[in-house]
Structure formats: C-alpha cells, structure tokens
Symmetry: C4
Subunit: 240 residues, 4 copies
C-alpha cells in the first residue's frame, strides 16, 4: 500500500475523529460533569488520540524518505505529543482543516475564501472553548460562560475588541494571540478576494479588447498573404 | 404575465414598503407610544407583511420550476415567517437592498462601492434600532437611547470598539455579530475598490505601451506584404 | 481675468489662511485666554472668514455657468455659512487639502499615498481639537487635555479604540464618526498602495516575457518576408 | 577601502551588536538589578553605542559626497545622539532590520512578507519593553509586568485594543503611536501579499490563453509564408 492510498482512505475517518474530538471537548468545557461522565469522555479522547497516533506511525512507515518526511511533519508530531496541555489539544483540529482544504471547490479564489471562512469559524469556536476552559476557574477571570467566550472570540477575530471580556491568564492570552493573528489573516483574505475579483473583472474587458485588436490585425495579414498566394498561382497559370 | 414583468412592476412599491417598515420600526423602538398608537403601527406593520407575503406567493405562482424556485428563495420564506421575533423583522430590508443593487450605476466598481456603502449605512441604522429594541429594557444593559445605539453601531462597523457601550443580551449580541462581519466586508470592499482603481490606472499605461508596440510591428508586416504584392504585380506586367 | 487665473493666484494665500485658521483655533481651544486675547483671536478668525467669503464670491462671479457652478460648489457655501457651530469651522481646512492634492508629486500612487497621509494627519489633529473643544466643558467628559485628545484621535483613526477616552456629547461623537470613517479610508489606501505596487512588480516580469515572445515571432515573420522579397527580385532579374 | 566593502564586512557584526543591545535592554527593564549589575550593563551599552558611532564615522569618512551622505543619513545621526532618552534607544534596532532586509529570500513578495513579519515581531517586542520601561514606575500606570506589556503590544498591533491595559504617560503613548501605525502597515502588507498572489494566479491563466492564441496565429502566418516561398521557388524552377 502506498502513502497516497493510505491518505485517501483515512482522510474522512480522520476528519470524523477530529469533529468528534471537538464535540467531546465542548461537552467537557461547557457542561458540569459527574466523575463517571468525565472518565468516559476522557477515555474516548484517548481513543481518538490513539487513532491519530496510529495514522502518524503508518504514514511514517509508508514514507519513502522517512527522516525527511519526519522533518517536514514535525508539527504533526508536536500536535500528538503536546496535547497533555488541555487547550493545545485543539491543534488536532488542523487535521480537519486539511480535509476542508482538499474538499473545497475547484476555482482558486472561491476555494481560498471558503477554506479561510470555514477554518476561521472552526478556529474561533475552538478558541472560545479553549479560553473558557482556562479562564472559568480563575479568580479574576471575566469569561465565565460559553456565551461570553463566543462573544469575546468574535470581537477578537473581527478586531473590534470592546474590552467587556478579555483573558487574564497566560494560556488564555496565548490562545487570544492566535485569534488576533487569525483576524488579520481573515481580513486580508476577504479584502484580497474582493480586490482580485474586481481587478480581474475590470481588466478583463480592456485586455480582451487589446488581444482582439491584435488578432484582427493578424487575420488581415493572413488575408493579404492568401491573396498574394492566389495572385502568384494565377500569374504562373496565365503565361502557360 | 411572466415572472420578469411582475418583478419589474413590483420592484419600487416593495422598496417603498420596506422603507415604510423601517420608519415604523424606528418610531416603535425610539418613541414612547400610547396603546392606541402602538395598535395602529402594529396594524400597518401587518399590512406591510401581507404585501410581502402576497409578492412571495405571486412569484411562486409565476415561477417556471416551482420547487426549484422555492429552494432558491427559501431565505425569503424565512424572512416572512421568522419576523415574529422583533429584531429579525429587519431582515425584510434585504428587499430594499435588492432594489439598490439594481438601481446602481453602470460601472462595476462604482456600483459595488455605492451598493456596499448604502447597504452598510442602512444596515448600521437597522442594527442600532434592533439592539436598542432588545437592550433598552434589560436590567444591566448600557445601550438605552437611540444616540447610544447609533454611536455603538458605528464603533462596531468600523471595528474601533471603544467598549463604552456594548450589548449584553443574546439577541443583541447576535445583531452585533452581524455588524462586525459587515464591518469586515465594508473594509474589504473599500480597500479592494481603491486597489483595483490603482492597479488599473498604473498597469493601463504599460499594457497600452506593449500592445501599441505589437500593433506597430504588425503594421510594418502589412506594409512589407503590400510592397511585395505590388512588386509581383509589376513583375507580371513588366514582361508583357 | 478668467476663473483659472484667479484660482492659480489665490491657491497659496488661501492655503496660508487655512493654516492660520488652524493655528488660531488651536490656541483658542488649548490655552486659557484672557477676554482681550479671546476678542483679538475672534477678530482674526472673522477676517479669515471674510477672505474665504470673498474668494467664494469672486469664483461665483467668474464662473461661466453660474448656477451650475453654485450647485457643484454647494459644499463650499455650506462651509462658509455653517461655521457658526464651532467645531464645524474646521471643515474650512478642506481648502488646504485641495492645495495639497495639487502640490503632490507626479506619480499617481505616490501622490495618492502622500495626499492621504498628509490629509489624515491634518484631519486627525483637527478632529482632536474639535473634540477637545466640545468635551472639555462637559460634566461627564473624559477628554480634558490636548494630550488626551491627540491620543484618543490616534486610537480612533487606527481603529484600535482602547476605550480609555471617548467622546460623550453629540457634536463630539459626530467628529469621532468622521475620524472612524477616515481610518477606514486610510487603511484602504495604505493596503491598496502596497497591493498595487506588488501586483505591478510581480506581473511586470511575466507580461514583459509574453510581449517579448510575440515580438520575437513578429521579427521572424518580417525576416521571412524580406527573404521572399529578395527571392522575387532575384527571380525577376535572373530571366533577364 | 571603499564604502561598499566596509558595509559588507560590518553588516553582521552590527546586527549582532543590535541583538546584544536588545537583550541588555530587556534585562535592564524586566529584572530587578543590583547597583553593580546595573553599572555593568550600562557600560556594555555604552560600548555598543561606541561601536555604532565608529561605524557612522567610518561611513562618513568613506562616503564620496560627504555632505550629501550626511543629509541622507541624518536619521542615523539622530539615532546615535537621541538615545539619551531611554526608550528611544530602541531605534538602534533599525540597523538589525536593515540586515534582515538584505538577508531575505529572493522572490519579491516572499521577501517583503518575511521582512515585514520579522520586523513587526521585533518592533512589537521592543515596543512592549519601551512602554514597560516608562510605565512601570508611574503612579496610575496599568502596564506593570512584561506579560502585561507583551499582551498590550499585541492587542495594539492587531488593532484589537481591548483597553484592559494602555499607556498613560507621554513617552509611552508615543511608543504606542508607533505600534498602531505599524499595525496598519502590517495589515496592509498581509492583505496586499494575498491580493497580489491571487491576482497573479487568476490572471496568469487568462493572459497565457490570450498570448497562446496570438502566437498560434503567428505560427499560421509563418506557415503560409513558407508555403508561398516554396511555391515561388517551384514556379521559378518549373519554367526552366
């Protein structure tokens, strides 16, 4: 079995596992759980982790140049090992984004816009969860409910930043930093998409005009050549 | 009567109804009303609703592929049914924006800029109204007058977000989310319009130079061809 | 004397008057003045106003189609009449911006960037002055010194909006609205300038390659034609 | 020794000195130091200053048109003389940015993006340090730890501006102004890079199509010409 075949077959199951992970993390953070429920969810989480680990190992085994592959996929190894720290576990969602990127439409611009908007929606939700996770048990924290967290996340990504809610712990601020940078990226892609569409629509007309004029001239050249050929043929026939 | 004819005839009356709806909603939210006045305005509102319902039904009746049409216009059906929730009623203004889009100028860039700026002015005002509607009766709310609401709306759309006023209820935050996303779109369109204009103005010169050089070469080719044809004709005539 | 001659001659004196007006307004707002000083500055202000009024009347008198001119320059009339309201007097600075626009460099992109940056610097300062003017005497105002006002103005134009200082009066909020919209415009122009420069730099190479290839082909066509003409000439000479 | 040779040889040592300066300034601002430690670090700082002064003087000595060179490098002289004011000393980091610009990649777009992102990371950190330096000893200041300073710096550069921390002194606000303007520039470059990439990717296809069509026509013209030459040759041979 080649590396490509394995990836093609595991793509959707892995995306499903990432979605399941996000759902379980949501329940863990938002709802008050009994110890039994907590243990159950933790067990499912470890199972998902094992699935991702297995996928990583198989990909490593199937790679042609294994050490080069490892170097290029070091970030995936980090995602697997780091999740001991709870909020960082969400980085596993990057697997989901990879599938999104492949499953997108054909046109470059539409695909980029769709990918960025879907990714930023998922990351904003994940960021809200992660911040709620670390802030809700802090003494002086002000992000205490999932509603506050989602609202704060949106004001951050859109760079509005009212300041009615904000993280006060170091891990919360790290997640917030990610969301701020994400906001810059989202704004950049939205603007660039509109600009690219406008530039193309506006310039298409003038470029087409210019190309049409050149091709019209070329057609005239060919007509002149054809006439010349006819004249020559007639000239050669006439003296006979 | 075809679907196009109906749309052409009802376009302006429907836009007028949407404007009237916005005016009535403004009065309902901003001014203190006696029960009699409230009843009157509610009655007019229901009449406007009936007009939109009628338009929807006629359009459905005139459509060629009715179920496909229904699927494509599901959002209009939702706008008609949902307005039980007061702030969502403002979605009816989308009818007005549709007319704006048609009534815009000819040039693509100017039309887009005009459409986005007018739409965002209307939506900012409507957002301010909707937030004032739900926040002014809340215990811990801080958006209590139409002045506060308009000021808050502008700081949100421009992504400034001082945080001196902000919504605290779930419906208010939903409306605010819409305004934040609108702000990203406005910024994107403004930037893209300037960028497209600059790119076109700057590149037009160089593209014209390049095209002119090619066409000059082509003219030289045709002159050579004409000379050749003359030579041939002279050659054929000379031996006679 | 034609309208153009008058404008060319009065351009710089009027810009000087606008700068003088800004200086006087700064002193009026920032420094505590004795009644005598206040009267003096007010008198100079009225003199400046008279200069602008004179310019407006002369331009009206020299215009070819007077009523059409009046309609197109209605905003200048408003700037002349409205200044009863103190902060709106700053609109007179638009005269200064008009001069800036003419005095800018030659290249389109550089001129636009220079114009927008200079204008926004002047308008940010003027906005700070106007807000300080109306807010410093308000009970619950929090913009009390020129330092606060400049700081608030910059956080507004850059859309940062900390919320440590913000206007609370209606005129102050109107000026703030202008600064927020200015901020969107500045961001748009900065981004568009960089984008246009990048697009031009990157696309210039590929467009040149393409044009060079076409012109190389055309040169080959002309070489073939020249050879054909030589052959014909040789053929006609040979039989002789 | 020419000016270019001196610059090429001193580039990396000067960048190293700038990094060392940033490290020492970090320790001075963040850690509580004993008088002996303070004196040591101040001495090293003066040594670095002497290195930059020496470089400036040698460059001045080697310059061809010395006064013109001085005028063009006035900002470097200011950076050398001004550092009496502690936070302004960070301007010396501009030397480091100059090296970054030269050491960047080859492609224009990638190089610009890399340069801007690295520069803004360094400047954000330096801005946080400078603000902490001046704000931590202020009575009513609210930026008291390096964590607060970095967090504030990021909310400022991304234009989020929660307002939970903000500078209150004049030097602190000046540094903050620089960071806000930097934020506008970063946003502009990020957006412009994506836009330029999109415009190029989208337009490349259509431009290639157009160029290919023109070159196909030209190939047909040359084929016709070749056929005509053959006919002529055949015609000349036939009569023999």
């Amino acid at each position: 079995m080649t590396s490509e075949m394995w990836r093609a077959r595991t793509e959707w199951p892995l995306a499903g596992a990432a979605v399941l992970f996000l759902l379980i993390y949501s329940v863990q953070v938002i709802l008050p759980l009994s110890p039994a429920e907590s243990s159950l969810l933790a067990a499912v989480n470890w199972a998902i982790w094992a699935v991702f680990l297995l996928d990583f190992l198989v990909n490593f085994g199937l790679a042609e140049r294994q050490w080069r592959w490892l170097l290029r996929n070091l970030h995936e190894l980090l995602i697997l090992v780091l999740p001991m720290l709870r909020p960082l576990r969400l980085l596993r969602l990057l697997t989901l984004l990879r599938v999104l990127n492949r499953a997108g439409g054909d046109a470059l611009r539409g695909r980029l816009a769709l990918y960025v908007l879907t990714s930023s929606a998922i990351l904003s939700y994940a960021g809200a969860l992660a911040v709620l996770d670390v802030e809700q048990d802090t003494q002086e924290g002000n992000i205490l409910t999932i509603g506050d967290a989602l609202w704060w996340s949106l004001t951050t990504v859109t760079s509005v930043g009212y300041g009615d809610h904000f993280p006060v712990t170091v891990p919360g601020r790290l997640v917030a930093s990610g969301l701020m940078v994400l906001g810059i990226a989202v704004l950049g892609v939205v603007t660039a998409t509109v600009a690219s569409w406008l530039v193309e629509s506006v310039s298409a007309g003038s470029a087409d005009d210019s190309a049409a004029a050149v091709r019209q001239e070329l057609a005239a050249v060919r007509a002149q050549l054809a006439e010349l050929t006819d004249q020559l043929a007639a000239g050669r026939r006439a003296p006979d």
